[in-house]
């Protein structure tokens, strides 16, 4: 109270505040609101902690689910891309089929070299057709045996039809298949296991119980697909494969369609196959033409379902957490009724009181949000490190978690805060 400042005469309208004063007022009120809210929360530590950890766990769970799902999706799509978007796979089995139809597919005839020949002869659209057959066998070199090696038989078209690449040496040629040579191409894991720092080309391996092969090339490392290592493999000519392992195993025909003509190619393949197998018009196909986008559809349906479950869990936790916040706030408003009266009497506007209590609500929910984001991100990182899934934490999820939790506080805090703001000053002052 400086001496010079005389009390101003009461104006008809309240004295106007300049911008600086208004800013200072808002700032001062906010600061006060935060301090008050912090004090109130400290005074009810246990209740605040319970609510915060409830919200935190809910958000952590939601983030965890979304992170793992998106990691799933990323790795799935990456693997799907290795199949090539224009490639059709003619197979006895239909991809993504569930257990109920198992016998139906089991009883179908294998896809054989006859089917392959028919497609080669009669289908005009495909750019390349590679027959692929595989078997799990052990491979020996220099007294060292590797079990569960993926031994595959195919032709020179294999590279074009699958996207695999040669690192050193050469791939199998048509001649290798026609003559049934002992040429083989080995995957990176095999190369590493047998030939650390040595020249693999020209070396001879024992594949399976009796077959001997000469290495003519090595594959570029491919990495995992669908959780399976792919680089522990040996590729030999199809004819050599049947000679070693017999004709019992069914083929997969990998058919590369010209870009943009996948559907036409699929139709053509189906009709050629039906002709080759002499199916009557009323008979069902006894083979499947699989496409990666079909696989994608099934996968998308599954992830959608999981996402819905995740979001439902999120909504339920949000409601439970919100009720906790509401409870904290209602008690806070009751306890501080007189204080509200005092503030109103001294010139706090309704919005000031509203802000003060919203601040408390948002502080609780935001703390819950941060805890949840930290926990969720930590769990995601753990999954990333400990499992083969690339569970990367999406920054969108983190920001969404923080904003969402703040919104949660605001939504569930608004009613108690409004009830505080609309208290009658005198009645609030008289409250015991």
């Amino acid at each position: 109270m400086s001496e010079s400042a005389l009390p101003l005469p009461l104006a008809t309208r309240p004295r106007q505040m300049g911008f600086r004063r208004k800013a200072a007022r808002v700032f001062g009120e906010l600061r006060e609101a935060v301090a008050q809210a912090a004090y109130a929360l400290r005074a009810h530590r246990l209740r605040a902690t319970l609510t915060i950890s409830g919200i935190g766990l809910g958000i952590a769970m939601l983030i965890g689910i979304l992170t793992v799902l998106s990691g799933f999706q990323v790795s799935f799509l990456r693997q799907l891309n290795t199949l090539g978007p224009n490639t059709l796979f003619v197979h006895k089995w239909k991809w993504g089929v569930n257990g109920n139809d198992w016998w139906k597919y089991k009883n179908r005839p294998h896809v054989t070299q006859l089917d392959w020949r028919a497609l080669e002869a009669n289908a005009n659209l495909p750019e390349a057709i590679a027959p692929i057959v595989s078997n799990d066998a052990s491979v020996t070199y220099g007294g060292k045996e590797l079990k569960h090696v993926d031994v595959r038989g195919s032709t020179s078209k294999y590279l074009e039809a699958t996207g695999w690449q040669i690192r050193r040496g050469r791939f199998l040629t048509d001649l290798d298949h026609e003559l049934g040579t002992d040429a083989c191409v080995i995957g990176a894991d095999l190369e590493e296991a047998f030939f650390k720092g040595q020249e693999p080309l020209g070396q001879r391996l024992k594949v399976g119980p009796s077959t001997r092969c000469t290495i003519v090339g090595t594959f570029v490392r491919k990495g995992n697909a669908f959780g399976q290592p792919q680089d522990l493999r040996v590729l030999i000519p199809l004819s050599a494969f049947t000679r070693s392992f017999g004709l019992k195993r069914g083929l997969v025909l990998s058919v590369v369609a010209p870009a943009g003509k996948v559907t036409q190619t699929e139709d053509e393949v189906i009709s050629v196959m039906r002709n080759a197998r002499r199916l009557r018009p009323d008979q069902e196909d006894n083979f499947s033409v699989n496409r990666q986008d079909k696989l994608l559809q099934g996968f998308n349906q599954m992830t959608l379902a999981l996402n819905v479950v995740g979001v439902l869990i999120g909504i339920i936790t949000a409601i439970v957490g919100g009720i906790g916040i509401m409870n904290i706030l209602l008690v806070s408003v009751k306890e501080r009724t007189r204080e509200i009266g005092v503030r109103r009497a001294l010139g706090a506007r309704r919005t000031t009181i509203l802000l003060q209590f919203l601040c408390e609500a948002v502080m609780v929910s935001a703390m819950g949000g941060f805890v949840g984001v930290a926990l969720g991100a930590g769990a995601g990182k753990l999954v990333d490190v400990l499992t083969p899934f690339p569970a990367s934490v999406d920054p969108k999820v983190v920001i969404g978690g923080c904003l969402g939790s703040i919104l949660l506080g605001a939504i569930f805090g608004i009613w108690p805060a409004l009830s505080a703001a609309f208290l009658h000053p005198i009645e609030a002052l008289r409250y015991e």
């Binding site: 109270m1 400086s2 400042a5 005389l6 009390p7 101003l8 005469p9 009461l10 104006a11 008809t12 309208r13 309240p14 004295r15 505040m17 600086r20 004063r21 208004k22 800013a23 200072a24 007022r25 808002v26 001062g28 009120e29 006060e32 004090y39 007189r338 204080e339 009266g341 005092v342 503030r343 109103r344 009497a345 001294l346 010139g347 706090a348 506007r349 309704r350 919005t351 000031t352 000053p425 005198i426 002052l429």
Partner: protein, 258 residues
């Protein structure tokens, strides 16, 4: 134009089905820069009147014009601003925030008028200095005596330099010397141009005011020179007290004496 114009102000409290008339048709005009004492028996409606004048409560009927403007026309935000910028209120029951220190309590109204932190502190310290509490700034209300709390409440009302000061028994808990000092402070403010309404039970303080209004059961029964009204009030109180005392005495002796 009078600063405060009260026309046929009625305030009735409703307690369930019962209606409690606290004010019945009050007509008072108070000019700018008046110093008015309000006296009357306990329950006569003094605090109720102060609340209405201080824009904290609204009358059941009647019109209250503040500086020519009908208060019922003002929005809630405008009322809040009037309370903050123009009015200083000393409550009968202090109404301090229990968790805040004396200094923070006094700073509170300054927050709502957008005073910067540094100035806020300075002004609040000065106000506490005026009521001789410089050595109790960091104490919370629970750590202060009744009289000290009352002085914090006074400092909080003065810190905004209000043009209208409403003090509801500001000296009730103070010894006569401290009370006199506070009222002396009010007189100084009055000389600087303030308008002051002072509710008091002490005839001596009321007598020193240029004007006094006496309430009985929510009606203005006397309005005039402070000395005269205060005297009348004291006499009335004395007579009533005496009568009550005599009646009690009579009842007792009536029963006791066989």
């Amino acid at each position: 134009m009078a600063l405060i114009e009260l026309e046929k102000i009625v305030k009735t409290y409703e307690l369930g089905h019962q209606k409690v008339p606290a004010l019945r048709s009050i007509d008072v005009r108070i000019e700018r820069n008046e110093f008015v004492a309000i006296v009357g028996q306990s329950g006569s409606g003094k605090s109720t009147l102060m609340n209405i004048v201080g824009c904290l409560d609204v009358p059941t009927s009647g019109r209250y014009r503040l500086s020519g403007r009908d208060v019922s026309d003002l929005s809630d935000d405008e009322l809040a601003d009037v309370r903050n910028l123009e009015i200083g209120f000393v409550f009968q029951s202090f109404q301090l925030l229990p968790r805040a220190t004396a200094l923070e309590n006094v700073e509170l109204p300054l927050i709502y008028r957008g005073v910067s932190r540094k100035e806020r502190r300075e002004q609040a310290e000065h106000a506490l200095d005026l009521v001789q509490l410089s050595d109790r700034m960091t104490h919370r209300p629970a750590e202060l005596s009744g009289g000290q709390r009352q002085r914090v409440a006074i400092a909080r009302a003065l810190v905004t330099q209000p043009s209208l000061l409403l003090a509801d028994e500001p000296t009730g808990n103070l010894d006569s010397k401290t009370g006199e000092e506070i009222v002396w402070l009010f007189h100084e403010l009055h000389e600087k141009g303030n308008t002051i309404l002072l509710v008091t039970h002490e005839p001596k303080l009321a007598a020193r005011c240029p004007r006094a209004v006496r309430l009985v059961d929510g009606v203005v029964v006397a309005d005039g020179k402070g000395r005269e009204v205060a005297l009348a009030n004291a006499e009335a109180l004395g007579a009533e007290t005496l009568a009550a005392f005599n009646a009690a005495q009579a009842a007792q002796t009536g029963r006791r004496v066989p």
